[in-house]
């Protein structure tokens, strides 16, 4: 069944950004390596290193510790942060212990960028991106 994205909850490094954001995206993938050699009839692929990224947009605010500035601005380059996203909640309420409607996604991130700016008369927007920090073997 299709989901209307309207009750997501978004946390980044101890700040809930839910009330400041109107767009969120998670990308989780793996490199698809080509190991094709002579004599094969098709391309043969092999799963490589995994990667993860989260992006979001919202309306810029400044002042309180939970505002986009300083929460996002001060965090650029910090690679000891955690991001947790609950795409679907029950009317904005996280359901403790739920493995279905309340489950979310979390990963360790390096905050890669934050940007803001717009035209006169607009609500000042911001956007940010964080990359999965990865694991050293």
């Amino acid at each position: 069944m299709a989901e209307v994205l309207k009750s997501a909850k978004i946390f980044l490094h101890g700040v809930e950004l839910t009330g400041q954001m109107n767009q969120v995206g998670l990308e989780y993938g793996a490199e698809s390596l080509d190991e094709t050699v002579f004599g094969m009839d098709t391309r043969v692929r092999k799963g490589g290193l995994k990667f993860a990224r989260a992006t979001g947009r919202g309306f810029y605010s400044v002042g309180a510790t939970a505002a986009a500035d300083p929460a996002l601005v001060d965090g650029v380059g910090n690679n000891a942060q955690v991001m947790t996203v609950f795409p679907r909640t029950a009317a904005g309420t996280i359901t403790e212990g739920s493995t279905s409607t309340g489950s979310g996604y979390a990963f360790q991130v390096t905050q890669a960028r934050v940007a803001f700016g717009g035209q006169v008369g607009e609500l000042l927007p911001f956007e940010f991106a964080v990359d999965g920090r990865g694991v050293q073997s």
Partner: protein
């Protein structure tokens, strides 16, 4: 790596303000614990990953634990086993923990019941969110 997590304690909106007498009252010092959740059997060596967001806390700080047990009946504060013990915090922060545990060992047989527990100075309000992922 992104993991699918289960929220174990959401005190992000209404913080915890336990009414106990302070950390250390109950050995080994848990002030309060969340509801025990059955996250399914883990029959062999598995991993648990835990994500903590401390949104705000007070001078006394808050220290959050993730505990597991083979029985759902570990309702007393000191009967769970600490799988994860986050670092105590007195300000906004996030922490990530990854642990390998062996369910075949004598002390961790067939763990499937999990909860969050925490210590804090009583009456003071601490806002945090802890979620975990258990991979069998």
């Amino acid at each position: 790596m992104i993991v699918r997590v289960v929220p174990m304690k959401d005190a992000s909106v209404t913080g915890t303000t336990c009414s106990c007498q302070g950390p250390g009252v109950t050995n080994p010092g848990y002030a309060e614990a969340g509801t025990v959740k059955d996250l399914g059997p883990t029959a062999s060596t598995g991993r648990v990953m835990a994500a903590l967001h401390v949104l705000s806390c007070t001078a006394g700080g808050v220290k959050v634990f993730v505990q597991a047990n083979s029985s759902s009946g570990f309702t007393s504060l000191n009967t769970g086993t600490d799988i994860v013990a986050f670092t105590s915090r007195t300000c906004r922060d996030s922490q990530w923990a990854e642990r390998v545990f062996n369910c075949a060992s004598a002390t961790s047989t067939q763990r499937r019941y999990w909860r969050a527990a925490w210590t804090q100075t009583c009456v003071q309000e601490n806002k945090f969110l802890v979620s975990i992922a258990v991979e069998p």
